[in-house]
């Protein structure tokens, strides 16, 4: 069987060489169709992947409706929490792990006074953040609950920032000055940059540059470090005149995350959220029925439309283009195969079953697909260079041609071409040898 397969491939290669124009047209058709699909798929894959596959079904975003139905979009509660609700969730401590976070933008003062200060972005969060999101460390570790509670000025910095400030040395225990405040470095993360940045969709940072610093949430609040991310006070909301009134107000700006390992824990947490909202209603803060959500990572990314609509649209268009290319290939293959009706008649007379004709011509189509796939690879490579013309630069740079995409390109080209060849091959296998031989 394998000998016959190799023989069929040899016949296919020979046949392709004999009709170079038709062959080139088919290969171009497949190549362009596959390349368009692969380039757009590369973008789609980059933005639609699971950023934390090992825990995406255990990490949840609690949402609490603190504004009421008249301010909600499609009945959905706000995408973040205000300070009051966020702190209530932390104090209740109903999850296995829980954290709050908001984005901070701090000026880094290098130890070398000759160097200019620069802005570094990061997060004010709790120590559980690093455990919950499996953040890898190069040196040291996260700060602990004690530091959270003691509101200590400690910091975790990124490998990149550590390289910039300390030449990549182990900087644990050293000091870093951020906005005139000194922090003790307790850990240096490895390069860690999940895409999309699922834990901070609220601030629109899904595809932003990696975070460089992390400081305790409690210390940031004490020091009145303002959010560098979004702050949503609703259509007629007010931020308030001072820090305390902002903290007491209904503006939402804090992203909460909880880790729940079992279905029972998830159910219990939902009950807790409803109980909390009900309590707020009884207390007169809310005058509407509890309207909470508890979404896991996938649900959260869907809800936040993490995949840009232009990515879906361009992928759909490219797949449509591939279908058109395949229809074109069907026509070309049909013309090519039917021209060989006399040969098919002879082969049938000499003992080829319909199955043997199928195998021979599908192998030939497979060769076309493989050649189309190789052209598609080259065009995909070129297409990668031009992605920035269609997508935003921060999204465009995520797409890349790796081994899996190379394999997928070839597989798609061969599979699609072989599928497209079924009809022409079926027609070829139906050729009646008697009529072909009589007509000679």
């Amino acid at each position: 069987m394998s000998g016959m397969f190799v023989h069929n491939l040899r016949l296919g290669t020979g046949s392709l060489r004999r009709n170079p124009l038709l062959t080139v047209l088919m290969i171009m058709s497949i190549g362009f169709g596959v390349a368009a699909s692969m380039v757009t798929y590369a973008v789609f894959r980059a933005v639609s992947g699971d950023p934390i596959p090992q825990k995406s079904s255990q990490l949840f975003v609690p949402q609490i409706d603190n504004r009421g139905p008249q301010y909600n979009r499609h009945g959905e509660p706000p995408d973040a929490l205000n300070y009051t609700d966020a702190m209530a969730l932390m104090r209740a401590h109903k999850a296995v792990h829980q954290t709050l976070l908001f984005q901070v933008g701090l000026s880094v003062m290098p130890e070398d006074s000759h160097r200019m200060p620069f802005k570094a972005l990061g997060y004010a969060t709790y120590g559980d953040f690093f455990t919950m999101f499996d953040v890898p460390f190069q040196y040291g570790s996260a700060w602990g609950t004690e530091q959270d509670e003691a509101r200590e000025p400690v910091a975790v910095i990124s490998r990149t920032l550590n390289q910039k400030l300390f030449g990549g040395e182990n900087s644990v225990g050293r000091r870093i000055t951020l906005d005139d405040r000194q922090y003790r470095i307790v850990g240096v993360t490895e390069n860690w940059d999940p895409k999309p940045r699922f834990f901070d969709m609220f601030s629109g940072n899904a595809y932003a540059e990696p975070s460089q610093i992390y400081v305790p949430f409690t210390y940031a609040i004490d020091q009145r470090i303002d959010t560098y991310g979004n702050n949503n006070c609703g259509s007629d909301g007010k931020r308030g005149d001072d820090w305390d009134s902002w903290l007491r107000g209904e503006c939402v700006w804090i992203s909460p995350w909880v880790e729940l390992d079992t279905a029972e824990q998830v159910q219990a947490y939902k009950q807790f959220l409803n109980g909390y909202a009900e309590e707020q209603r009884r207390g007169g803060r809310f005058n509407w029925a509890p309207n909470n959500r508890l979404r896991d990572v996938h649900e959260w990314l869907d809800y936040e439309h993490a995949v840009p609509p232009e990515s879906r649209i361009s992928l759909s268009l490219a797949l449509g283009f591939l279908v058109i290319c395949l229809v074109n290939t069907i026509g070309l293959l049909l013309a090519k195969f039917m021209r060989r009706a006399p040969e098919i008649g002879v082969r049938r007379a000499l003992g080829a079953s319909r199955g043997a004709i199928y195998r021979q011509f599908l192998a030939e189509a497979g060769m076309v697909g493989l050649a189309g796939g190789c052209l598609g690879l080259v065009l995909t490579g070129l297409g990668m260079l031009g992605i920035g013309l269609v997508f935003e630069p921060q999204i465009a740079k995520l797409a890349h041609l790796d081994f899996s995409l190379v394999l997928l390109t070839l597989l798609l080209a061969v599979t699609a071409t072989v599928l497209a060849a079924f009809y022409p091959t079926w027609r070829a296998a139906q050729i009646q040898p008697a009529w072909q031989l009589k007509s000679n």
């Binding site: 040898p433 031989l437 000679n440």
Partner: protein, 240 residues
């Protein structure tokens, strides 16, 4: 070897039914050399394609080497064609894109034969028809007679029990035709069963037995005195 009983073949369209063969009866014994003659449109080639399992029939029975073939599926028919039948066509029907060696190899490939055995058989068959030195030539580089010899080599390579020849010399000049005919006679002497369709009374005369077809039926040669005379004359003039 080949037995057709009350066999019929009808071509149907929406408005007309055409009988290509009607109540057709023939029996060819193992080792026989039978010439099938008849005017154009009489059904000779239809008989041959049915005999070669290239076409199905409408009614009656056909036993090939003791097997009733009407209920065989495509795979089984293909296998019998491949293993038991060799075809020689008027138009040679070589595959133009394959060289002589590869053309002769085609039926052996479908039989799943191993490489060394294929090679032995191909070279033996080509030597037998005197074309071993042309193994790498393409059909377009050969004369008509050489092409027909390649076709015969292709038919012989698989050692078929039955050789079906459709006007094997129809496209050849007299000298080439004589050479091909001598080759067929030699193959027959070695034990092959040959059924040859021909227009040519001289060729028919060189067969062991003649079967005459008119309007899709086998007729007694005595009923067609003109043909009978032509065959008689051809036999008298035959150099053998």
């Amino acid at each position: 070897m080949l037995k057709m009983t009350h066999l019929s073949k009808v071509y149907r369209t929406e408005v007309v039914e055409t009988y290509a063969l009607r109540d057709f009866n023939i029996n060819v014994n193992e080792g026989e050399f039978v010439a099938v003659t008849g005017p154009s449109g009489s059904g000779k080639t239809t008989f041959l394609t049915i005999a070669g399992l290239l076409e199905t029939f409408t009614g009656g029975q056909y036993h090939l080497d003791g097997v009733e073939v009407s209920n065989l599926n495509d795979n089984e028919r293909s296998k019998i064609r491949n293993e038991k039948i060799g075809f020689i066509f008027q138009a040679f029907n070589l595959i133009p894109d394959l060289n002589v060696y590869d053309n002769v190899e085609v039926p052996l490939r479908y039989r799943g034969m191993k490489g060394p055995e294929r090679k032995d058989r191909i070279m033996n068959a080509l030597e037998r028809v005197g074309l071993a030195s042309r193994a790498k030539h393409y059909p377009a580089e050969l004369s008509g007679g050489q092409q027909q010899r390649v076709a015969i080599a292709r038919a012989l390579a698989g050692s078929p029990r039955l050789l079906l020849a459709d006007e094997p010399t129809g496209n050849l000049d007299t000298q080439m035709a004589r050479g091909v005919m001598e080759l067929l006679e030699e193959i027959h002497r070695e034990g092959a069963t040959i059924v040859m369709v021909t227009h040519d009374p001289e060729l028919a005369a060189r067969a062991q037995r003649n079967v005459h077809i008119i309007d899709g039926q086998v007729v007694d040669l005595a009923e067609d005195p003109r043909f009978h005379q032509a065959v008689h004359a051809a036999r008298a003039n035959s150099p053998a």
